[in-house]
């Protein structure tokens, strides 16, 4: 009947325990200390944008605060925690900055950000639905992507638009780290999605230049699709005939997120339901709307398509 000493309630202790306990308690405390509290919780303010006109459609739902919009971000180049972008994105260099538009078009070109900031800007208050089942209401300032694409004159072979976002390895702690997704982050749209009047290139929010953690100096906003479709800090837009490879649709064998990624409460993610979402600032979940509530404007783009297959 062998019972190990480890199984017996010990009757004695050693003197060294005091030291160990103190060190152990301090170590455990440090481990459990939430990193979020260490981050400065101050909303960054960019340069004021001139001549922004109210645009339609805009929701009149309660807008999320700049504090919320700048401290709850997915921008994996700066880390995978929601508060990582707020802590690290200040290192992003946003000047000089150009956006190259190339591929199947008559007049490819490279546009300087200061040139793009002179496009007629409008405010669009859009719902943003993240694939992770949370949402916000954000007042974007920008212009329809179509305005830029019309300038380069897409050819008839331009069936898709590929987006490439910036990589500044030395400024981005999330690039090349353990388990990191491949960068640059690639996204894509069908040409009719890209030319849709709802699809914006945003250069600001709340009347100010975009905060860096939200994709400064210029980003895509496609409000009826999950947020990851809306690439941040764009450097290249390419018109092409074939469907472009995108970062998430290639990741993990394409099971994670699809190319279309239209907000759809009926099609669940493998790990969670998409039927409901938590609006940041609210305690309980609310039902998710098909096409994020923009179905009247965009459902016709997908007439006859099986949205379960093309998720």
């Amino acid at each position: 009947m062998g019972i190990r000493s480890s199984e017996i309630t010990p009757r004695s202790l050693y003197i060294r325990r005091r030291e160990f306990l103190a060190v152990g308690a301090a170590g455990a405390g440090a481990l459990l200390l939430p990193r979020a509290v260490l981050a400065a919780a101050e909303a960054p303010h960019g340069r004021k944008l001139e001549g922004v006109k109210p645009g339609q459609p805009s929701t009149d739902e309660k807008k999320n605060s700049l504090e919320e919009i700048t401290h709850y971000n997915n921008f994996y180049e700066f880390g995978t925690d929601k508060d990582d972008p707020a802590r690290h994105a200040s290192k992003l260099q946003t000047r000089p900055w150009t956006v190259k538009v190339e591929g199947e078009c008559a007049k490819p070109g490279t546009f300087d950000i200061d040139e793009l900031l002179k496009f007629p800007l409008q405010e669009r208050v859009y719902r943003l639905r993240c694939v992770e089942a949370w949402s916000m209401v954000i007042p974007w300032d920008g212009f329809p992507l179509a305005t830029l694409l019309e300038k380069v004159q897409p050819t008839s072979r331009a069936k898709y638009v590929a987006f490439e976002t910036v990589v500044q390895k030395q400024n981005m702690p999330g690039v090349g780290g353990f388990g990191a997704i491949p960068f640059p982050y690639l996204e894509g749209l069908r040409i009719d999605e890209a030319m849709h009047p709802l699809t914006l290139l945003a250069v600001g929010m709340y009347g100010e230049e975009l905060p860096k953690q939200d994709g400064a100096p210029i980003r895509l906003v496609v409000p009826w699709k999950y947020g990851f479709k809306s690439g941040k800090s764009l450097v290249k837009i390419r018109l092409q005939e074939t469907q472009p490879p995108t970062t998430w649709s290639q990741y993990a064998g394409g099971t994670e997120y699809g190319f279309y990624a239209n907000v759809n409460p009926e099609v669940d993610h493998p790990r969670w339901s998409q039927a409901k979402e938590r609006r940041i600032g609210e305690l309980f979940r609310r039902p998710t709307l098909k096409f994020n509530g923009y179905g009247d404007q965009v459902a016709k783009l997908y007439a006859g398509m099986d949205l379960r297959k093309f998720f």
């Binding site: 709850y72 388990g179 993990a252």
Partner: protein
């Protein structure tokens, strides 16, 4: 050597740090510093604390085996119960707040999503351990059966690690490190079992 009864400070000294993360979380809640999504923050923190405490309880025996310390065994039950306490708070946050007691959604979540299934299974495997954590239950079951039952803790640890890894869409260092620590703790026990019996202290089971 001192008598066990002479360490009245040992349990309070472990109890306080084990409880402190909850107090810290509560104080952040009261001060409104839980960030833009407080529900997710509380849910994730409670889950992390549960795994940390579970691992602390799992480390007690290996500490005794490797370093000869016996005091961890005196706080093992308390650490295990704290792990269960945090796991219950984690699960309650999910049920009551995150899901708002939408039973249809919860049932679907647990049955359909492997990440949730595994987390729920981890909690379920802790339940019998918490119930039978008293001396009375050791006597009722008999020590050998009680001990066999409590090996479930390693299953709970493994399920918790899988739950933690599957939570993320990319491979993350933290859950992988937790899994490595679990493997190390289990490895130490297995290595100790493999050692010749002569190195063990042999005590007749009746003595318990």
């Amino acid at each position: 050597m001192e008598k066990a009864a002479r360490q009245p400070w040992l349990k309070p000294l472990v109890f306080a740090p084990a409880l402190s993360p909850l107090l810290w979380l509560a104080s952040r809640g009261l001060r409104g510093t839980l960030g833009p999504d407080p529900v997710a923050e509380v849910l994730n923190r409670l889950g992390l604390y549960a795994i940390c405490l579970l691992f602390c309880s799992l480390a007690c025996t290996p500490l005794q085996l490797v370093l000869g310390w016996k005091w961890p065994l005196r706080v093992r039950r308390m650490l295990g119960l704290f792990a269960f306490f945090y796991a219950c708070l984690h699960l309650s946050t999910y049920l009551f707040v995150d899901q708002g007691l939408d039973f249809g959604g919860i049932a679907k979540d647990i049955s359909k999503r492997r990440f949730v299934t595994v987390g729920f299974a981890a909690w379920c495997s802790l339940v019998p351990l918490a119930i039978t954590s008293t001396q009375a239950w050791v006597r009722r079951l008999g020590y050998r059966r009680w001990k066999a039952l409590h090996r479930l803790v390693y299953l709970a640890g493994a399920l918790a690690c899988v739950h933690f890894i599957w939570r993320f869409k990319t491979a993350l260092l933290q859950p992988v490190l937790f899994t490595a620590v679990l493997a190390l703790l289990l490895g130490i026990r297995l290595a100790a079992r493999a050692r010749p019996a002569a190195r063990r202290v042999s005590v007749p089971s009746e003595s318990r």
